[in-house]
Symmetry: C2
Subunit: 192 residues, 2 copies
């Protein structure tokens, strides 16, 4: 398979088989994620692996409740569709995926969002290479309950940047529509 | 080549052949970068391609001067080594690479750093798949001169997130040392 063919297998997947994800394959993927570049090779990413549907359901409930609270207190804007979803008891923000990986890091790291996003892309590709699907679930990052954070091994200095779901896809969906690259300017070499 | 073998070809490259990078291959790479996921498929990334050594030198000079100014005004902390480098007229922050791609986007987009970092990883992989090297150059983002920004096609609402150098590597360096993945917690499925 060429790289361009492989690339098309990395799709955001929201519909998974029941099959659990083995911890060995998660470890392989996280090992490959350490190869992601980070600012000054600072390697600030930390990982939490939640391979348990009950805990994932609690994380979904906590994240939904906090998002709705933020919306009611006008700290967040949410579209009417999202509000409907978040109020629906049956809606799991993690789409009932069997496994969630949180990429987290110290709030003190200036480049944390970028470093974690690069690691996330490595996880998404490493998963695709193993027939696994992933999706970045922005709605799943809003965990504030100190007890729940402690269960995740997270102290108060840590922030969740990338909540990723991972599992065996029922199918690999086609890419959602993409615009052509928006190139503002090409400055070419002057040959003289 | 397996994905794991391919992965090791994506290295931060700072030493390039003189050979220019053709605009066709840049276009191919930017087309593949549009497949990167973005929050709500918002696709906020914009690209500026600087394929001209003179312009790259001016961008390096501008970025160095602004960084040193920030340091003098105590708005930035820099290690003594970096200060030495930035004061050295011969030091080009872009390592004399033949081409620079800026990934930029609207300051109003909340997830801009993450969206651009994901697109950057796609560019770095798409380049590696074509025998090209890349490196994210954090020092190269500090462009403030309105005339220079206008030359780049950037209005005041846009922010540079990812300055990437790209070119044909003299060699693919070995990976710099990586720590094992720091897994804070694994919460496993309770079987009952």
């Amino acid at each position: 398979m060429t790289y361009s063919e492989f690339l098309k297998k990395r799709r955001s997947v929201r519909d998974y088989e029941q099959k659990a994800v083995g911890i060995d394959v998660i470890n392989e993927i996280l090992n490959e994620a350490t190869l992601a570049p980070s600012a000054s090779n600072n390697q600030p990413c930390r990982f939490v692996v939640i391979n348990c549907r009950e805990t994932i359901k609690r994380l979904s409930d906590e994240s939904k409740a906090n998002l709705l609270k933020d919306f009611e207190q006008k700290k967040a804007s949410l579209s009417p569709e999202y509000i409907e979803l978040l109020k629906n008891d049956k809606f799991n923000v993690f789409y009932n995926a069997p496994c969630v990986i949180y990429i987290v890091g110290s709030k003190a790291v200036h480049s944390l969002e970028i470093d974690c996003a690069l690691a996330a892309s490595y996880i998404m590709f490493a998963a695709a290479a193993r027939g696994l699907g992933t999706c970045w679930i922005g709605l799943g990052a809003h965990i504030r309950d100190p007890k729940l954070k402690a269960e995740l091994g997270m102290d108060e200095n840590l922030r969740i940047i990338a909540p990723l779901i991972i599992g065996y896809p029922k199918e690999i969906p086609a890419a959602s529509p993409r615009n052509a690259p928006k190139i503002l300017r090409v400055i070419s070499q002057v040959k003289g």
